[in-house]
């Protein structure tokens, strides 16, 4: 359970940038065997987020650090506080075709373009190159900046909700519980039944499947 102090720390980081509008971008779904990569961008206007208006974000934290209920609550809070929210979805077939890192960078660029006008744009991890709007890369950004943490919440919740739907469409794989990540049960199921439409066919999937199952 996150404390309000964490949220305050994240908000302080953004405010210390000394500008009005801060955009943040982050992704969810780099690690799984199945399902999309989801990249989100959030634009926060700190001129408007004063006093009680910022209160919903007080529990803000990196999406990996909070339980699902708090994450849903934070998702609603971000949607109510943000000036702009952008979500880019990269389906498994596109990840297989273009590569995960490339999709990731493309999504982060698009997310930051969608969150203009920003005075400062922040991204978790790698620099995005000249095709992106001016930005700063922050290592461990989701634990430092409120805008990036907000984007990580939106990406994670959007992806998890899709994977719950996918569980109904492709029953038996357990997508509602592991949301596509590698668990012994998930690996076992793929080996027995073969991959379904939303399993990534790239190299890591091949490592978990028999050669027959992939072809």
């Amino acid at each position: 359970m996150p404390t309000k102090r964490t949220g305050q720390k994240l908000l302080r980081f953004d405010r210390a940038l000394g500008v009005r509008r801060v955009a943040g971008a982050d992704e969810a779904g780099r690690g799984p065997l199945a399902g999309p990569l989801v990249v989100a961008g959030v634009l926060l206007d700190y001129e408007l987020l004063r006093d009680h208006r910022v209160r919903p974000l007080a529990l803000l934290n990196d999406s990996k650090q909070v339980d699902p209920e708090t994450r849903d609550e934070l998702y609603r809070a971000v949607l109510s506080c943000a000036e702009r929210v952008s979500v880019q979805v990269f389906p498994p077939a596109v990840i297989d075709r273009d590569g995960l890192h490339r999709c990731n960078l493309k999504g982060l660029r698009q997310a930051l373009w969608a969150c203009q006008p920003a005075d400062v744009a922040l991204v978790d991890g790698f620099k995005l190159g000249p095709a992106a709007p001016p930005h700063r890369a922050v290592v461990d950004g989701d634990c430092k900046s409120a805008a990036i943490a907000a984007a990580s919440i939106v990406a994670k919740v959007t992806r998890d909700r899709y994977m719950h739907t996918a569980d109904a469409l492709y029953p038996g794989y357990g997508f509602a519980s592991h949301v596509g990540y590698i668990t012994p049960a998930h690996t076992q199921m793929v080996r027995e039944r073969g991959p379904c439409e939303i399993h990534r066919r790239s190299w890591r999937a091949r490592a978990y499947l028999t050669a027959d199952a992939v072809d």
């Binding site: 590569g99 790698f126 990540y181 190299w203 978990y208």
Partner: protein, 84 residues
Amino acid sequence: MWLAGGELDLVVRRGRTIAFVEVKSKAGCGFGDPLEMVTPVKIERLRRAALAWLAAHPELEALDVRFDVVAERAGRIEHLPEAF
């Protein structure tokens, strides 16, 4: 080389691209596919190490970054570009 808690096997530059290459070979037998050892946790460590490496080489900041895996599978050397 070890950086930020992760180990980089190879850093290769060709033109405007810099590739961080993870090399995996099957050590002994009965441990499954070597690619299975490239876990999400391992991948996050490699990304961190790459970030630390790039931070130490600011002149290369504008290059495109790529992550490859080279693995020995079933007696063959397999190169997986853009692996993660």
